[in-house]
Symmetry: C2
Subunit: 311 residues, 2 copies
């Protein structure tokens, strides 16, 4: 059995974007097995268990990932993850990956694929609501698919937005008020809030929104009025209904599962698409186990590992 | 992060039986979190993902276990397992255990706990239907809870039953025809069959049966007429209905979930019990994630490990 502590080393963002796009093709064509992720609740957070099997890639396994918002105060990341890969022929445990950074990358890549297919424009002003690790992953990944002419970054703590922009030397990036960030061609939300921070009046016709932050029951970032104006695409309907951006509006009767316009897989396979330059599109990302398997296939090719006995 | 290749070394069967009994107390009192195990299907088998959290033991994690019946022809075990343990406070991955042998032991211990509480007699003739690794685990574990005066072992291949008995030098153990094995006070079935092998006319009044082999949709070992005569206890209703001994009779309309007499946890906590020496009792075991966590707490205390970076 192999253990990879830094499987993300050597990965290129364009390669990651491509394999994530491919995996959404598999999803759109129904050629995967992926039960909805399972939540177990801790006193200070939760963990999610995400099994899947992708026959075309010959890969199967399980990611286990926690979310503990108070971890940074202890000097630990909020999110940490491990992926176990099994041999498809025999079921034997094959590899274990530290998947903390892979999780950031594969989520960023899904946002990039969504922006590639759903953005009305190829050159954009991009607004970021939230400036944490996932905001950085989204901007880096999207910038490989679409020309980002300017990035406007809002954070509750402005100094975080300032230091965020310093990391992106090749992109014209600057802190901005939230209404300015939300007035961009593409808006990416990555906050952990439970009360919407993005108001409907800030969102213009033709905007594409990557709604990334809501990934558990009770979380929502967007005024539900935005969903009513938009066509809402999801990564996976069962997961999105349970824990995505649409979960709270659904429980409140402000959105219904029948209003989901389609999945990102259906978009990538051409079954669904943006219909006009004026419509607002939303990609509701919850994160799929198949994304974790896809990036694992790439990551295991390049990185060093530790051999472990398994006998 | 610690990796344990042989966490079973140093475990004593009585200690394992006790912690498994304790975990069924927690289950019976509803003090655990355990979503039903999730199945993913492979071309030649499947794998099951089993997350849980036991607050009283301060342990949480996920077992991943495959079942590949054709593996022995490749020189591999049918069943292999890994358990990932997370820190309850921070969600950080703490330990990874090779759980292949732990899986045998914790399943044997559940059978021993069931026999302790449900057997009509304290000294028994014990019949084994099937003589593989799990049969050995059951016999070893039960013999610590109940006096096994004689063990009658049936296997489709008689030479397997012969060599099985040679392993148990302290127990009067001998191969027998299946109807003799089924005529014992306690009957333990551990075969992977999909057509029942145990006939109702072989089972006497007062028998306790551990039905261990059926652990996936489509598997059954007992003539459903036995279930109609018996009080059927399960480890977990959701799992038993989906994949335990009762799963096929339920889909065929020969048994209904309302007929379940109770859970082993309810038995261990005294809420349910055998009502007379004459009644037939069945323990339908599917295997619980909390059993895997319970044995992991014990196993990690004694065994050696390899330190792995996780940064």
């Amino acid at each position: 059995m192999k253990y990879f502590d830094h499987p993300e080393l050597g990965l290129s963002i364009p390669d990651v974007n491509r394999i994530i796009e491919e995996i959404f093709v598999e999803h759109g064509n129904g050629r995967i097995q992926m039960p909805p992720k399972i939540y177990v609740t801790f006193p200070h957070g939760d963990f999610r268990t995400m099994p899947a099997f992708v026959p075309s890639l010959g890969i199967a396994g399980v990611k286990v990932v926690n979310v503990h918002p108070q971890n940074p105060a202890r000097g630990l990341p909020t999110v940490m993850a491990v992926t176990l890969i099994l041999d498809v022929e025999t079921g034997m445990p094959e590899s274990i990956l530290n998947a903390t950074k892979l999780t950031d990358l594969r989520t960023g890549a899904a946002g990039a694929v969504a922006a590639k297919y759903l953005s009305a424009k190829r050159a954009v002003m991009l607004g970021l609501v939230g400036s944490g690790r996932q905001a950085a992953a989204q901007l880096a990944a999207i910038a490989h698919e679409i020309s980002v002419e300017e990035a406007l970054v809002w954070d509750r703590r402005e100094e975080k937005a300032v230091s965020f922009c310093k990391e992106f030397k090749d992109i014209d990036c600057r802190p901005a008020p939230i209404e300015k960030a939300c007035g961009c061609d593409i808006v990416v939300t990555t906050t952990p809030v439970r009360t919407p921070v993005v108001r409907s009046e800030w969102i213009r016709e033709g905007t594409h929104i990557n709604a990334i932050g809501a990934d558990a029951p009770g979380k929502e970032e967007l005024d539900p009025a935005i969903l009513a104006r938009a066509r809402v695409f999801v990564d996976d309907p069962a997961q999105a209904i349970h824990s995505g951006e649409i979960n709270v509006p659904i429980t409140q009767g402000l959105f219904s599962p029948e209003q989901i316009a389609g999945t990102l897989g259906e978009v990538v396979t051409g079954k669904k698409s943006r219909k006009s330059p004026e419509e607002i599109t939303v990609f509701d990302s919850t994160g799929l186990a198949i994304q974790d398997l896809a990036i694992a296939t790439l990551a295991m090719k390049g990185a060093g590992w530790i051999d472990l006995p398994f006998d």
